[in-house]
């Protein structure tokens, strides 16, 4: 049981897989057994497809965070191993500028990202280059330009 509980061997192997693709990136495992790594945005596709070949096939979701104080947006890609034992759940963080939030689409690697990327675009306004149908998914299709409720400067008005 508890296949995703990281062993030392699993963590070091994961570290070597990641440092092969992104030099200098180091995995940190927190006390709850989740691995965190920060990579530049250009490397995200290469890293996720490399990890998919190694066994990180289960794509959980994309979380977007609006860091308004630092004028940046953070995207976190959560991936989990499938069929491996001793390897932790991995959260890959990447930072993009808040004024022009653009990230590459990973639809060709994980097909399910079709819906997750649309959700992040809808609620946070991050554009994904290469997405076949980047449209609003949860909010009405005729919502005004720049209407992204999960941004921190979004004000909730009466009746909305």
């Amino acid at each position: 049981m508890a296949k995703t509980k990281p062993t030392e061997e699993g963590t070091s192997t994961l570290n070597s897989w990641i440092s092969e693709i992104v030099s200098g990136a180091k995995v940190e495992v927190d006390k709850f057994g989740t691995a965190w790594v920060e990579v530049p945005v250009e490397k995200i596709k290469e890293l996720l497809s490399g990890l998919k070949e190694k066994g990180y096939t289960h794509f959980i979701t994309i979380s977007g965070v609006d860091e308004i104080k630092d004028n940046k947006m953070v995207l976190i890609y959560h991936v989990a191993p499938s069929g491996l034992s001793g390897y932790p759940i991995l959260c890959v963080k990447t930072t993009i500028p808040r004024d022009n939030p653009v990230a590459p689409s990973i639809v060709d690697i994980h097909n399910v990202a079709l819906v997750y990327e649309r959700e992040v675009y809808d609620l946070l306004g991050i554009k994904f280059e290469g997405h076949p149908n980047l449209d609003r998914i949860l909010l009405p299709k005729d919502s005004p330009e720049g209407y992204h409720p999960l941004r921190k400067d979004f004000e909730i008005k009466e009746g909305e």
Binding site: M1, T57, I89, L138
Partner: protein, 406 residues
């Protein structure tokens, strides 16, 4: 060639609002497009304005069926943020698992009824919902309410389990196991049911893996992926009677059988818990103060909901309320597979195909759109406009009603 048939957003075959546009040639579906967003309530934004300790009590309103697992996953993340996860008393953990498994039983029975209702077999729909009441009675004792039961709270659980409840749980477990045998027999022997479920909405293993399906949808397509086994959170393991259920048929029939067998597994687990519940406190002392601000940081938490993997992400910036909460529900992960499965099927099979993933739209979309009847496009109204509109509507329509009655 071919023509488009819109199904929904409000359609007798769907229990929740969702729009499916299907392209048909004759009776066969050649393409399907899914449009959602009819039930988005902005809960993630609401949670950013609430105290950490009150987050679970709002998170459970995301879903009206699997409210317990939403609350427990929210609590798991918050206990990690406060760094008290390893201090939770054992008895509290056991009672949480009891709640989670009772919820799985009632959710699967509810689904079984709806799936059969979609197939046109309303007798079993009535029977499964009658059986489900027994489970809801136990949940009412555990939490105080039937549907949104709030069993847990940050640091433990709210109510203890006494001997009378334990006996009731063992009775329910035996009753459910007997009923499962009956339902299995219906599905294995009844030719009408087999005709509606066998070789319908087939999801091959490779596609199920490729589309990242989760929960019973994946396990019915021979993908043994269960978070209870993967993460082994709380007390889940073979010694409490847990086992992963996998079926190889990949069709709607397999999805039914996986869920019935999972109900049996859950019945074993609740019986084991009722017989071996450890003694001790049910909450940490002292309690987590309401205004306590946790250290800045990020955590994730995930659990196996009745429909599949439920995922929470939290970010704290050192204030008494969250900076960001992200919820990923299982239906969003499974929705792409509906479009795949519908292709090549007959129109009559759409309700069964759609029901086979056990969709929960309320979970998936978490704003309110009001159509005032005059505008073709959905219109967003302000609160005062809405009040004025409703007063006007009732004045007009009620006067008409009164005349009709006279």
């Amino acid at each position: 060639m071919g023509m488009y048939v819109p199904l929904g957003p409000f359609h007798p075959a769907f229990k929740e609002p969702l729009s499916i546009k299907i392209k048909i040639e004759g009776e066969t579906i050649v393409d399907a497009e899914i449009d959602m967003g009819y039930n988005h309530r902005g809960i993630e934004k609401i949670l950013e304005k609430r105290l950490w300790v009150s987050v679970p009590f709002i998170a459970e309103h995301i879903c009206g069926i699997c409210s317990g697992v939403h609350q427990m996953t929210a609590i798991m993340g918050i206990e990690r943020i406060y760094d008290i996860e390893d201090k939770i008393p054992e008895r509290a953990i056991w009672i949480r698992v009891l709640g989670l498994e009772l919820e799985r039983i009632h959710s699967h029975l509810l689904w079984l009824g709806i799936a059969l209702h979609e197939a046109g077999f309303d007798t079993i729909f009535m029977l499964t919902w009658r059986d489900r009441e027994r489970v809801l009675d136990v949940l009412e004792i555990l939490g105080g309410r039937r549907v949104v039961y709030s069993i847990g709270r940050v640091g433990g659980v709210r109510y203890d389990v006494d001997d009378k409840t334990k006996k009731m749980i063992i009775d329910v477990a035996n009753f459910i196991r007997e009923r499962c045998k009956v339902y299995k027999k219906y599905f294995e022997e009844d030719p009408t049911l087999l005709a509606r479920f066998r070789n319908v909405s087939v999801l091959p293993t490779s596609v199920a893996k490729g589309l990242n399906t989760v929960g019973p949808t994946a396990r019915a397509s021979n993908v043994p992926y269960d978070i209870r086994e993967e993460d082994g959170y709380y007390i889940y393991g073979p010694d409490i009677g847990y086992r992963t259920i996998v079926r190889k048929e990949c069709d709607a029939f397999a999805k039914v059988m996986v869920r019935i067998e999972e109900v049996e597994v859950s019945a074993d687990i609740i019986e084991h818990i009722a017989k071996n519940l450890p003694s001790g406190p049910i909450e940490i002392k002292p309690k987590v103060p309401h205004m306590k601000a946790p250290a800045p940081g990020e955590v994730i938490a995930r659990m196996e909901a009745p429909r599949g993997e439920l995922f929470y992400y939290y970010k704290s910036d050192g204030k008494p309320y969250p900076y960001r909460v992200k919820v990923r529900t299982p239906t969003l992960s499974n929705i792409l597979s509906v479009a795949y499965m519908a292709k090549g099927e007959y129109i009559a099979d759409v309700p069964v195909t759609f029901a086979s993933i056990d969709p929960c739209i309320a979970c998936m979309e978490r704003v309110l759109i009001i159509d005032d009847g005059k505008h073709r496009k959905p219109k967003r109204m302000t609160w005062s406009e809405l009040i004025r509109y409703s007063k006007k509507w009732f004045k007009q329509n009620l006067s008409w009603l009164k005349q009709e009655r006279l």
